[in-house]
């Protein structure tokens, strides 16, 4: 890792390499013995192509849920972050309680809670997709607000004072002075958060909301080809997620 260290490490003993080789050989032998070659030979990935339309539909629902998380998260999160700067202690406490509640419990629990408790409390029966949308929007608002709050607090105090000295109304102060630089500095973090919600949509499959993971599960149960289908799902999630995160990296470097 350090340039100077390389000179010292030249007299490294060959035992490390031997150990690595031995481990690899052991893993190789074990794999050879235990791998189910018959099944491996009979893998048939054409099933993925046969069900491409269903999978594409599932991916659409996944992207829809990701978009909901991003948009609701950003708007509600910004509102929550602005409220967290309120002069009223009560408002601040309510916001903190909301954010901490959603950040410190698993989304799976929130999701099932919303699905079962909302009909009981409001008498409004939600479909799985509606419950999923509500849960992911609520969770996203809590996570986004935390990032936007960080952005708002990084705006120098002088900006607030200048806006106050100029007698700008609160709306202009927020809309023109505080939020633009706050959000701009947070763009990479916000995109990263959206990517992690892209991953989190797969959790909604426990309610069968017919996003990519639900569809994969269903097809795999119907045709009993779990390896082909789950691998395909993993590849789809990986390719999309990887492209998005590489773009964010570019964005971060460009910003610097």
């Amino acid at each position: 890792m350090f340039a100077l260290e390389e000179q010292v490490e030249e007299k490294r003993s060959p035992w490390g390499l031997v150990a690595v080789m031995a481990t690899l050989a052991l893993i190789g032998v074990a794999a050879w013995k235990y791998v189910n070659w018959q099944l491996l030979a009979s893998l048939d990935f054409s099933v993925v192509w046969d069900y491409r339309l269903a999978l594409a539909k599932g991916l659409m629902v996944t992207l829809y849920l990701t978009a909901i998380a991003g948009l609701c998260g950003l708007t509600a999160g910004t509102v929550l972050a602005a409220l967290s700067q309120s002069r009223l202690a009560l408002v601040r406490w309510v916001v903190v309680a909301y954010v901490e509640l959603f950040r410190n419990t698993p989304i799976l629990v929130q999701l099932i809670w919303i699905h079962f408790a909302l009909p009981v409390f409001t008498g409004w029966n939600t479909t799985a997709l509606q419950s999923g949308t509500i849960a992911i929007a609520l969770q996203a608002s809590a996570y986004f607000s935390e990032i936007v709050r960080g952005g708002i607090e990084s705006v120098p105090k002088g900006q607030w004072e200048a806006a106050y000295a100029l007698g700008l109304p609160a709306r202009t102060t927020w809309g023109r002075v505080i939020l633009p630089p706050a959000l701009k500095s947070m763009i990479p973090a916000l995109v990263n958060l959206t990517i992690s919600f892209f991953k989190a949509t797969s959790i909604l499959s426990v309610l069968q909301v017919s996003e990519l993971m639900t569809i994969t599960n269903r097809i795999s149960n119907a045709v009993y080809k779990p390896i082909e289908l789950f691998t395909a799902a993993a590849v789809i999630y990986f390719v999309l997620g990887y492209i998005l995160s590489q773009l964010t990296l570019r964005l971060e470097r460009a910003a610097k």
Binding site: M1, L4, N36, W113, M213, P226, F230
Partner: protein, 221 residues
């Protein structure tokens, strides 16, 4: 709507048992994940060659695919590919270990990279052995710097264990949904486990916030 606390009073041992399973799974996958993560971290620190490329691919892959996909893949595909049986809990632990190792590798790497280059060069110039440099100069500040990220990952891991209920591991979320379907008291049981998760995870978040403030304060001076 009436909140029937009686259901909770009757069934709390099962919920607490679920909490224990949750914590046990966390501890085991954190331990395995640390070992795998350290290996991946040092391979990535090489900076070139095939171990480096393998580590980069490994870390990127397991950080990018959703945990649910990984859990289902390990649970339903591994036993088919290899002719051995894994219990649901074992495959859950394996999936979470892989997930943890990728994240921990990046945390370790960031910690080690934050070591002061000047101090290491000074130590090398003084002829201090590499092993001692690692133990005395690189590791202590690295550990201090990576604690907040480690603890915040631990809270992510605790939340992720709830996903294992989908493959029937008897952890807390699973117990709650089973009890819920038995008694139709979903709201009671889900609220109870939400409180238990919160009580477990909130102290960790508080610590992370404090530690980050402390680190930021130190950097400011």
């Amino acid at each position: 709507m009436n909140f029937e606390i009686q259901h909770l009073v009757n069934n709390y041992p099962l919920i607490l048992q679920g909490l224990l399973v949750t914590l046990r799974i966390c501890a085991v996958s954190l331990a395995i994940g640390t070992v795998l993560g350290l290996v991946a971290c040092f391979m990535k620190l090489e900076g070139r060659g095939w171990p480096y490329r393998f580590a980069v691919a490994y870390i990127d892959f397991f950080r990018t695919i959703p945990e649910v996909v990984l859990i289902f893949w390990v649970y339903s595909c591994l036993p088919l590919l290899f002719s051995f049986r894994l219990t649901a809990e074992a495959s859950g632990i394996l999936a979470l270990s892989l997930f943890a190792s990728a994240y921990l590798a990046e945390i370790f790497r960031a910690g080690i990279n934050s070591a002061s280059r000047g101090q290491v060069q000074a130590a090398l110039a003084l002829g201090i052995p590499v092993r001692v440099i690692w133990m005395r100069i690189i590791m202590p500040p690295a550990i201090r710097r990576m604690m907040p990220a480690l603890v915040s990952f631990l809270s992510e891991l605790i939340k992720a264990t709830s996903l294992l209920s989908a493959i029937g591991v008897a952890e807390m979320a699973y117990q709650a949904s089973v009890l819920g379907s038995k008694t139709f008291a979903y709201v009671e049981f889900l609220s109870a486990i939400a409180v238990l998760y919160f009580v477990t995870i909130f102290p960790l978040s508080l610590y992370v916030r404090r530690a980050n403030q402390k680190l930021a304060g130190k950097a400011g001076h």
